[in-house]
Structure formats: C-alpha cells, structure tokens
Amino acid sequence: MKPPPLDYSRPESLTDALRTLADLGPDGKVLAGGQSLVPLLSMRLAEPMHLVDINRLADLAYVTRADGQVLVGALARHAEVLASSLVPAAQPLLAKALRFVAHPAIRNRGTTVGSIVHADPAAEMPAVLALLGGTVRVLTAGGERLVGARDFFLGVLESDVQPGELVTEVRFPVLPAGAGTGFAEVSRRRGDYAVCGVAALIALNDRQEIEQARAAYLSVGPCPRVLDLTEALAGAPADSDRLPAAAAMARELIHPEGDIHATAEYRRHLAGVLTERALLEALAEARDRGSADFGRQPAGNAP
C-alpha cells in the first residue's frame, strides 16, 4: 500500500496556487489535509496525479464570522473549527457534528473544507452544509463563483469543483435566534462513518410554535439528502409530541441502500429514530435560544 508516483507543487500564495491549478487543468489535485486523499492514493484507487499542496497558504486557515455567516477557510483543520470560540454561539451544529468526525488525530489534520469537497455521502460536514443551505466559494485564476450546497454535491465523492478550481472557503449561515440544531448518528464503532446520521434544524415562531423543521441525512444516498419536515410539525408547540410524525415522514421519503454493515430496512428505521432524536435536541436548543429574531430571517438560506 504505497502511493503511485506523484508530481508535486507547493505554491506559497493563493495566486500561485490558482495559476498552478489553471496550468495543470484536469491533472491537478488539491492537497490540504489529505486524510481522505492519501489513503486512496496508498490503495492506488486514485491515479497518479499532480498534487498542488496548499498547506503553505496560511491565510486560508481561518474560522470567522461575517455577514451572518460562519466562514471556514480551506486550511482550517477540523480541530480548529471545533475549538473556535465563535462556533458554539454562531452555528452550534458545526461543533455538534464535528465531534462525530473520525478521531482527534484525523481532525488535527483533516480540513472541514476538504471534507466537503470530498463529498463522501457518509461524512458529516457535507450534510451539515446541505442542511444549513451554506455556500461554497470556488476560485479560479480568472475569478470566483459561489455554489449553493444544493448544487454542490453531485454524487458519491463528486462535488462541483472543476479542473483549475480551488475551493477556498465554505460558509455556514449563522443560526438565528429562535432556531435550534441537533445531530444524531449511529456508527458501528465510535468514530466510524455513520451507518445513518441526521442533522436537524428547527425554527420557532414568537408563540414558541414550530415554524420550520428540516433534516439532512448522511449515508442514505449518493449525496446528503435534505428533507423539509415542516409539514409534519408546523404549528406544533415547542415541547411537541408530534416528533414521531416527522420521523415517520422521513422514513417515507428516504430510500437508503444496504451494505455490509446494515440492511436498507435498518437504515430506514434508523433514519426515523435519529430524526426524532435530532429534532428533540434541536427543539431544546431552539427554546433555549429564544425567539427574538423571529420572522425576520429564515433559518439559514432555505433551499
């Protein structure tokens, strides 16, 4: 298990990086944390390629808040996002989900942006971005484009990044007051990819009733799947016992596949159980966060 021969560049600036990527076209691949790429290389599932190592672009190692978004730069390691002091208040779901990402040693090197670009349907970060309706900032030597989460994930391990492009940032909408998030997953061993996982978001109105409920699912299809469960819960009180209805709705709407760890039927069942658990957590958080901003902004960029 050793990687094939590789070409390698290590640009010292973003401009250099983009120029290199532009020159290389389809041969160029970005190396950031490498926690998914390097094992694929070692197993020789990935072809020889030209790696463009962006680890010198220290300017991209940021977690900040601006314009109602949490901005995560391409070189921010999972551990840094998790440790960031602004995350718990601005977007608590990030921290909740990051705790399920592999183990600390992987989080110390792996990047949140890389995980999203890698688009593993069993990974937590793509589902979180999809649920929140976040945005991916993609640069080329010639310019910039912003891609919404809904358009970003194309298939298993496929995201909308074209040859010559570099994802420099992902943006997670800040969680408004009166909204809450929850995350629940079942994995075979702690730290493994999820057998099934659910990220949930609930927004309450000023009467403390559920106004909006959404959930995103991992490991149930080729891409993160976002369901609007509002129909099952709209108008329900914040201590709702109607969560099972939302769970039932989720079970109806998703069509997972079986694999060596779980049958499709079990996955579907789990999706229901975890929907309820994640919604319950979201509901509690929404109550705690009050409803001062109610009505003025939706929870995230609603898809």
């Binding site: 298990m1 020789r44 061993r189």
Partner: protein
Amino acid sequence: MSSLFGARVQRVEDDRLLRGSGAYLDDLGEDALAAAFVRSPHAHARITGIDISAALAVDGVVAIYTYRDLPQRLAEPLPLLIPHPALSHGRTPYPLANGEVNHVGEAVAMIVARDRYVAEDAEELIDVSYEPLPAVVGIDSARRAEHLVHADVPGNLAARAAQEHGDTTAAIAAAPHVLELDLHIERSASTPLEGRGVLARWDPQARRLQLWTSTQTSTGVRAAVAAKLGIDLANVDVITPDVGGGFGVKIVHPWPEEVLVPWAARRLLRPVKFTEDRREHFIASAHERAQEHHVTVGYDDDGRILGLDVRFWHDNGAYVPYGLIVPIVTSTQLLGPYKPGAYKVEFDSLYTNTVLVTPYRGAGRPHGCFVMERTIDAIAAERGLDRTLVRERNFIQPEEMPYDQGLIFQDGRPLIYDSGDYPALLAKLKDLIGWDQFPAVRQAAAREGRRLGIGLACYVEGTGVGPYEGGHVIVETSGKVKVATGLTSQGQGHQTVLAQLVADELGVPITDVEVVTGDTRRFGYAVGTFASRTAVMSGSAVTLAARKAREKALRVAAGALEVSADDLVITDGLVHVKGDPDSGIGIGTVAVLSNPLRYAFDEAAKAATQFAGGGDMNRPPVAEGDEPGIEGRAFFSPVRSTFAAGMHAAIVETDPDTAEVTILRYCVVHDCGRLINPQIVEGQIHGGVAQGVGGALYERMAYDETGQLLNASFMDFLMPYVSEVPRRIEIDHLETPSPLNPLGIKGAGEAGVIPGAAVLAAAIEDAEDIPVRSMPLSPSDLFELRRVSHEETA
C-alpha cells in the same frame, strides 16, 4: 528466599518497547530489497497467461518470478503440516499459483525491487490473464457442491471425522425431552497489528541462510525452509524478532513468502524483505471461526443431558495446511465442564474459494462453547429452570478428577481433564456479577424504559499441548544468567515469566536474567507458541534447566567452600551456607571456577587459569562425565494436556430503538492453576475478552457470493476500539493446581476469547426474549431478528 512466583512483576520486555527500541521485522534489513506480490483478484480462476515484460522495464525492479521459475521442491505444494487419518483430501497451496487460483489474494507472481513503492509500480504492470471459474463461497454452497474448489476433491469434502462416547442415539431416544438447534458462527481473524514479514540474508561464503520472520515457530520455519531450499538444517538460522502479535495466524508455516523470500535472496545474492501490508493480511493470511452446527440433545426433567449429538460443517477455506485442528478442537472441547451422558460428534471439513482457515486464538473453542452453552440455555428455557442450575446439574464434580471424556483430543491423546473445580468457579461467578440480584436490577431498569439482560458461559480449555519444549540456562562469569527457549513470543510476556521462574530457581535477581525466545542459534529444538502452552511447556523446561544449573553451581561452590552442597543455598546471586548470608561466593565466581582456563581475559578469569593454584593435581581439570560451565539444559514433555477452565458473565443493555448493544458489566472467573504473574494473566484475559467482544458484536469477514472479501480494511473490518470493549473487566481467580507439571500451572493465553460469543448471545437473548442462534450480531442483525420475531408473533 522471596519468591517471584505469583508476584505482579513488571515486565522486563517493556523498557525497550516503550522507547521505540523494539526490533520488529520491518525495522530490520535497511539494505534489503523489497518483495511484493501480484495477488489474484478472482476467487477461482485458471491462469492463461502472465506477461511481465512491462513490469521488468520499471527502473528499480530487480526480478520478477512466477510459478515457472520455481525449482523442483519449491514447485511442489507447501507441506500439509498436520496430517490426520480422516483428512482424505488434503490440499495445500503452491508458493506461487500453478495455473489456478483458489481465493482472492492467492500469490501469482513475486516482484523484487529497490523498495516497496517501486515493487508496487511494477505490480500494476504485470498482466495476468484469467479464465474465471465458478466460486464456492460459504458452507451451503460447499455442501451443495454444484461447483468444486479442487476438481479432484468430490463434494468439496476435505475430511469427514466422527467420534462417539456411549450410545448416543439410544440415549437420546430414551430421553424424556429432545431439542434440536441450528447454530452458526461467522468468520473472523487473528488480525495482529503487525502483519507477517520475512527478511532473508544468504551468505555465499559460508553457504549459510539467515532468516528473520514474524512467526510463532522459528524451528518449524527453519525445518521447512531447509527442506524446501535444500539447505542443511545446520546452515539455516531462523531468528524471531519482536513480533507484533500473532494470535494463531503466525503459527502456520511456511507461508509462501517464508520460502520465496530466502530463495530469492540466495538467487540474487542480496538481502530481501517482505512486509505484508494490511490489505494483504486480510486476503493472503488466514481466517477462522466459520462453522454451522446442528445439535440434537436429549435431557431429563431436571435439565440433565442424557445424550448429545452434534453434527457440524467447517469451512476450511481453499487449503488445509494446518490439517483438522480447528474442527477437532471444536468437536472435543465443546463439552466444556459438562458430562453429557452419551456424546456423538461428526464434522465435515469443506473447501471454499476463500482465504484458508487455521487456528485463531481459541482455535475452535469459541464455536464449541457457543454450541454447548446455547444448548444448555435452550434446555433451561424449555424447562423453565435457572440457567446456572442446569449447568450445575451437568458439571463434572471435583472429586471425579481426573475425568476421562472418552474422546481423542487434538494432540492425538485421550481427552482426560487433569483438574478443576467447576462448582466453585460458578459460585464465584454468581457472586461477582450478582446473578441472584439481577432480576431486581432488570426490573428497576425496565421502569426507566431500559432493556437489560444477563448471560453466562462456561468453558474448559485444553492447554499446554505437547509434544515438548526445552530450555537452556547458563550462568556467565559476570553472574548474569542467560536463558533460551525455542518457542517464540508475541507479546505475552514470556521473557518476564520465564525470568521469574529462573530467578526463583537459581536465587538470582530477576534483573540479572535475560531470556531469549525463538532464536534457533540459541535453542534448536522447539515446537512453537500456540494452544496456551508457553508457561506450561517452556516454563517447566526452563525450571528444570535452571534446577540443573543450580545443582551444578552448588556442587562447584561446595568444592570451593569445602562444605556439603546440601548445606548451601543461593540468595541474591550469592552462594552461601544456610543461615549465613554474609559469607559466600557470587554465582559468577562459581561460574569462573566451573570452567578451568588456560587464558585469562579479565580479573575473574585469572582465578580459573592453570597457574592460579587449587584443584586436585591427580584428577583431570574437568572430571569425567562433567562439563565446564554452570549450565543446564532440559526438556519437558507431559503425558497429555492440562485443562484450564473459566466462566464469564455479562450484563448487556439493548437499545429498543436503534438495536445497539452496550455491555454494562463483564465478569470473568478463571482457573489456570497456579498463577506465575497475575498481572500478565489478567492482561491475557483482558485482551481475550476484547477479541471475544469483537467476534460477538463487530467482526466478520464479509464475502460476497463471488468470493470477494468486501471488508479487507480496518475501515470495514470492525476491530474494537476502546469505545467498544467493556469499561471494566472484573476478574476473580481460582487456583486448582495441575498434577501434570512441576509448577502446577495450566495455560492462560487464549481463555479470555472463548466464551465471548456464547455469553453475549445469552445476555442479548435474555434482554430481548428472542432466541439468538447466530453470531456475530450487529445492530442491523438484531433489528432483523426483532422484525422476524414480531412477524412470527403477529
């Protein structure tokens, strides 16, 4: 004299391992070329062509070999290590595939290159043409035999073997109650953290081969390599470096790589090294465990077994180099601590197009224990009796020891239990887990909506299997004691426990004792490390060897001190008259005196030279029949195996929603006779329990119907992390000494793993009130069991 026997002595191995100064196989041979293998992607195929031309052109490739390059003896199949009369159709692999591959991962070509990176580059360029053949995967497919693994093995049947004690059919026919059960265990594997590895150096001047291999038997590899390469045994050294775990997979020998690497080294006149990678370990080493069992049991109103008939089918994979050891162990050891009245067992050992099967820690016992314990639980359920009560009623009693089960064991000798007190073990276990208090615990939990269950399982384990081991002890003039035994060590702390025994026996500080294992340069006669045999076999042997050295030391010291040897003792390395610890001579000095010298190398040696005075001028310096030096060499060969025993109990919680299983408590009572080092024994139990939990809830080899192993990585083969093992493993010991060896000990290395599947199946069954007949059990499996059970009730 303070005894180290029974003390929690800190391990002597640890210091260097903790500093990163251990020397594992891949840490050696920096100058060696690297070997890699082209392995079959097909479970069953004919090879119609191999094109190596493109690969040969890769810069850094030194040689590429296929079957056609192998000389005569290497071109024959590898040895069938343990023949058995019932093994009518034994088949073993060729070192490199000879025209046909029989499992994914079988070696087809060998590449030797500058380093492993280059070797893998070349591997990609070797073009092998295959003509796929239908694959036989799983026991049912093997039994149906619509396709054959080996064209000349009808019915895919390697062996059918049977044993019976009493008239089982009659006993069952006459029994008031009869139950039938089908029980299944899936594949797992040893999976040590270090894979296999071999390094070879050929010295053309001395015509001598030096081979380092990560093995459980250096003498076995040595004999095999000498035979296969046509080198005199005396010219082959096999050295076992630090071994990063074995658990059985490294007892098989020679692995193809163990003969190919030295062959290439000799041919190329360059050192060559093979370091197995993780994926290769999954598809090219050995698995174990897969068996289907059908049980028919007759019993009375009280749950006493009157007759037990077990028919089972063993999936031995593509080849059987290790013979029938695993199914034989299952067939004999499933009886555990019970006397079943009459007993009949018959098994088929079947070929499949999957990785070959050889013993993995527990070797056939986890399945046997699962079969017997599930059967007893089923009887208890059917009779409405407490599960411990049914066990008690079937136990062999202490006063019945030694107890003859009337069968032939895996060593070809009668299955006679030497010692044990099973009622006492059960009493301890019930106390430890609080068996009688559990109903209240369960109720309390149920009130909170939680689902708890308790289970237990008992086993008896034949340990200390023969035929023999030996030991050598020599006292150096510095007073340091060097000990050698031929079997190997894979982390069990052999150096420590053997040093404890020798230090006790010789009366020297343990810090002065150094033990070497698995180096044929130091000790040439040995069998290997398996079947929990080291403490019993090598422990006894080095004890006897140290005893000889001690006698010699006392005799030489007696001459020098002019006292009777009977009056002398050795304390802290000082040979002195009893009761007078201050005056005497150091054991190093005694070593000097024991070896009359012509030449002096240091101050100590000077005292033993010919002009130093002393000695009787009328006798030869070395008396007739005597030898220079304080040395002892001894062998231990017991009449038959010792039988350790143990019982485990667990309390589990099952999640009503997700079907996840959490182990709340895990208790072990254990009898391995006298404990040399309780800390090490407990460590062995901990590790065994973790593997048992892995085998019960997480680990399986997921083959698809075409023979692809779908989880050949640590991502999908779910070896437990700390988060999956019980938070605390509670242990109590019972010591019933074995009469079969000088130390009264029985083996402990494998015990922890044996009842894992049985005890967790029992506890889950208790929590869920659904019969559990197949392990391992994932949450998805439990969900399916619930669904089926719900449908059946509805």
